[in-house]
């Protein structure tokens, strides 16, 4: 057994123990903290699998935004916990559930052990076409050139999710401010952190976005960090989310996907296919699309965590 596979084994054992903890923990908050730790271990696992772009995404979303979302939710739902315990299914049902789960896991494990040799791969095809795009990061090229349709639909799905969250607002506060009002002492430590960290975080976010053309990184990871910094400002009571009825907000939320669609359909005329780029312009157009998606993604991800409108005015 090599050193690398021993390290992988340790990681796997830790991942599974923490995952099991999030399932069996008695208190929801304890399970949620376990889930944050689990997200962190998972991003190390992605580095061990040489998927650094994925590790960046998991680090930003999995242990950053998801953690805040779930910690907030578990705190607000804490009073419902006691009522739920009598609903716990009996030993027989749990046993059957365990049996079914074990069978599914066993089936997947069997398919893992019988994966085809040699493994199918699209890497040579990507490598062959990489020079024609002019970007160094193959994952960015896949996201915006070969699988552009996925990325386009994704940027729309994220906005749809936000519309879904907003539509849960009661009529009374429709168009109001998302989430509860945050209070913090303007001279306290939280406010200090809220002033010191965001400038640094914004630089890191823009850096991650900027290097994404040639090195691991990109708009999703960068936008997540920017969204997190905005949320930090909100939690420190220094910034408030805008009311969702603001026109500029709504324009920015759809601007990125709309521009992507426009460039995509322009490709039908200039390059012979929807979402194709004319020769020589691929790099420029990809940069334009990424830059346009950044504000949309930043706003959407932050407002998804902030939640549905709950207040009509400051107070």
């Amino acid at each position: 057994m090599t050193v690398a596979s021993t390290l992988a084994l340790i990681l796997v054992v830790l991942l599974l123990s923490v995952a099991a903890w999030t399932v069996v923990a008695r208190q929801t908050f304890a399970a949620v903290v376990g889930f944050v730790a689990y997200g962190l271990l998972l991003s190390i696992a992605w580095v061990a699998l040489s998927a650094v772009d994925v590790a960046l995404t998991e680090a930003a979303i999995g242990s950053g935004l998801t953690g805040v979302l779930l910690i907030g939710a578990s705190a607000r739902l804490r009073v419902t916990e006691a009522a739920a315990s009598p609903e716990r299914p009996g030993a027989l049902l749990r046993g059957l559930g365990a049996l079914a789960s074990a069978m599914v896991a066993g089936g997947i494990a069997a398919s893992v052990l019988s994966l085809p040799e040699p493994a199918p791969t699209l890497a040579p095809a990507v490598a062959e076409h990489l020079p024609s795009i002019g970007l160094g990061n193959a994952v960015t090229v896949v996201l915006l050139a070969y699988r552009g349709i996925d990325t386009l639909l994704e940027s729309i799905v994220v906005v749809f999710a936000l519309i879904g969250v907003w539509s849960l607002a009661p009529d009374r506060v429709w168009g109001g401010y998302p989430g509860p009002r945050q209070y913090a002492d303007p001279n306290g430590i939280l406010a200090y952190l809220g002033r010191v960290l965001p400038p640094i975080g914004i630089i890191v976010g823009v850096y991650i976005f900027w290097v994404g053309a040639d090195l691991p990184g990109g708009k999703f990871q960068g936008a997540t960090i920017l969204a997190a910094m905005w949320l930090l400002g909100m939690m420190a009571g220094l910034a408030d989310a805008p009311p969702i009825s603001r026109t500029w907000l709504r324009i920015l939320l759809v601007a990125g996907p709309l521009l992507f669609i426009a460039i995509g359909f322009a490709g039908a005329l200039t390059a012979g296919a929807v979402l194709a780029y004319p020769d020589g312009y691929a790099k420029l157009l990809i940069k334009v699309i990424e830059a346009a998606l950044m504000p949309t993604l930043t706003l959407t991800l932050a407002l998804l965590v902030a939640g549905r409108p709950e207040r009509t005015a400051r107070g």
Binding site: V3, S43, V47, A59, D185, G188, L190, L193, P216, G217
Partner: protein, 95 residues
């Protein structure tokens, strides 16, 4: 040398896993949060070690993201553990 770095990363993971027992034992929510904080710092160190050993320079960027967001979950915890007004009171009285 690279093996040393990987062994160090493995040792560090086991060490931090020891701290993870606090997530399970509690007793308070603050204890659980501390354990996650320790795992965050340890995770940053593991990423730096693995990145140096396997020559994955971008692992530093993953560590950078974790470092920027290290305070994030804890701040959410502190906010959720304090009733809206009390954090202002406490800080005014205590700080």
């Amino acid at each position: 040398m690279n093996d040393f770095l990987l062994v160090a990363a493995g040792f560090l993971l086991l060490t931090v896993a020891l701290g993870l027992v606090r997530i399970m034992r509690g007793p308070g929510d603050a204890d659980r949060m501390m354990s996650a904080q320790l795992l965050g710092t340890g995770g940053v160190a593991v990423l730096l070690l693995v990145g140096a050993a396997a020559s994955v320079p971008a692992a530093i960027d993953v560590a950078l993201i974790l470092a920027v967001l290290a305070a994030f979950a804890s701040v959410a915890f502190v906010k959720s553990a304090s009733p809206p007004e009390s954090i202002a009171d406490k800080e005014a009285g205590g700080a």
